[in-house]
Amino acid sequence: MDQQKVSILIVDDEFSVRDSLYNWFKVEGYRVDTAENGTEALKKLQEGPWDIALLDIKMPGMDGIELQKHIKRIDKTLVIIFITAFATVDTAVEAMKDGAFDYISKPVDPDKLSVLIRNAVNHRRLVAENIQLKQKVEELSLQDEIVGESPQVKKIQELIEVVAQTDATVLIRGESGTGKELVAQAIHAKSNRRYFPIISINCGSLAEGLLESELFGHERGAFTGAQYKRKGKLEMANGGTIFFDEIGNISAKMQMDLLRVIETKQFTPLGSNKIINVDFRVIAATNTDLEKEVAEKNFREDFYYRLNVFSIQIPPLRERTADIPLLAYYFLGKYAKSMNKKVTDISSEAMKILAQYEWPGNIRELRNTVERALVVVGKKDRIEPEDLNLHTLSKQDSTEIESLEDLEKAHIQRILERNNGNISKSAEMLKIDRVTLYNKIKKYSLQR
């Protein structure tokens, strides 16, 4: 906040005090005015915005304490400082409990006044910044990233609105690439926890030991390589939301540990004996058939019921083809802007290909396709069929496969299909570990 623009209103019934402070602040470069009683002060406060008000406690008629109450009704953010004689210090302390910023005793030490005003200006600036940031968060939370007009999408949007107002645990289900994380973010953004962080963790992409340290954090020296103390994601999510992606892929021990944390809202970091209390909302997502996993004793039943309080099922893109043009144009606008391209349209032939394609990788695949098309579109102002590269993807077992990557993608897809999407079996057959397989599934937008 520029000192030249900071405005100070001095309210005191003694002329000498008003005059002295007026001159003092004037040469400091502040915009300054005076009022000799509460009524005059309120009139000036209603005429325009002020940053700081210095109020005398003892004034004939309306005293400083009463004036503060009236001021708070006009402007809650105004910084109020009381000027008090030694005898009224107790009253000033009481006034601070009602929201005054500070008080200063008469006669005032010039240095103390100077520091106090500097602090008040900083406080005012921080409050203003905080209000701006909250408005920004509100605006962002209103921006609906879940695009679509189909009845299925409308239903999901309704469910998000309903569940966001509660603190219930949510289980989001759907194929890979359907936008489960986006739904989790939307729930968080519309909830009362929106000013706190949403922390995401992909449970499937981390080996068990690593997942444990990521979630719980660790003390220095807790294990080989733990050179520094590190805060876990559970602690980072305090006040906000924690989003467990691929929850169906965590070990039995981790299921038990997490169940305990969710129940008690307490945990102990690795290598520590200090219990940490946390408060977060849990949202989990999976594309695994959890009921089947429970029946086969691969997933704890109590953990399943703890997660499945409120369930949202996201349909695959092939079941809501009406949304494909909307989504395609949404991604076109988004990426054209970020790539600074003047592409504004998709030809009807290209759109026909997009609408007819199966989209095994769902929205993520559509997004990647549009993004790639914008890279190869050159100087054209619209996307044509040759920019889409969908013919090779839809015929993965044909002779049109050219690159090593296409070959790898097609092979992994075949193995996954052969094993009915079972990651462990597919990884074993491919002779790679589960984490690598997860990363490749994500990279190629493969369907399990």
């Binding site: 000192q3 003694e14 000498s16 005090v17 002295s20 402070l21 001159n23 003092w24 004037k26 040469v27 400091e28 470069g29 000027i83 008469k106 006669p107 005032v108 030490d109 010039p110 240095d111 006044l113 100077s114």
Partner: protein, 182 residues
């Protein structure tokens, strides 16, 4: 011819006043002279605070100014105050003729350390230029080394220089061009 008048209030060493006179002329490029005026300290003395009311003193100082007096600077050894503040190093009229500076809190012995005459003279000069600067319309400056930077304790006076920054210097020059013919 227009002058900056330096008026001693109470007992001030002549050497200090002469040194101040030369330095103020160097800074403002305006003829400076030492003038004795009858100032009565008794009506501005507050026995409870054992201090002298600065504003009351300033009123006496600017009363009945000589036509050739453009600015007047009172220099005193007494401790100054205004009712709201515990003390003042000095006071001035923004864009007015009068300024006042107190040497009382500029001397090291006030803070329990041995006297340093050179340091005292520097502080008195800086505060005199600072208060006179207000009479030329200058407000406090954010430039740390500028003499118009605010000082609420004595160490802050030591940290700044006795010179104006380029922006304040320009303001003084503008004032001189608009108000001085000789």
């Amino acid at each position: 011819m227009s002058y900056i008048d330096i008026v001693p209030i109470g007992k001030i060493e002549e050497a200090t006043l002469i040194s101040l006179k030369h330095s103020l002329f160097q800074t403002f490029k305006i003829q400076t002279r030492i003038r004795n005026r009858p100032i009565d300290l008794s009506p501005v003395y507050d026995p409870i605070r054992n201090q002298y009311n600065s504003s009351g003193l300033l009123v006496q100082l600017i009363n009945d100014l000589a036509p050739e007096t453009m600015k007047i600077l009172g220099v005193t050894e007494v401790d100054l105050f205004i009712p709201i503040f515990t003390f003042l190093f000095g006071e001035a009229q923004l864009n007015g003729p009068g300024a006042l500076v107190s040497a009382h809190r500029l001397r090291n012995p006030f803070y329990g350390i041995p006297e340093n005459e050179e340091m005292f003279k520097n502080r008195l000069l800086k505060e005199s230029i600072h208060e006179l600067g207000h009479t030329f319309g200058l407000i406090h400056c954010f430039t740390l080394r500028c003499v118009m930077n605010t000082s609420t304790y004595v160490e802050e006076i030591d940290q700044k220089s006795a010179d104006f920054c380029s922006a304040c210097e320009k303001e003084i020059l503008r004032w001189r061009n608009g108000n001085l013919t000789d």
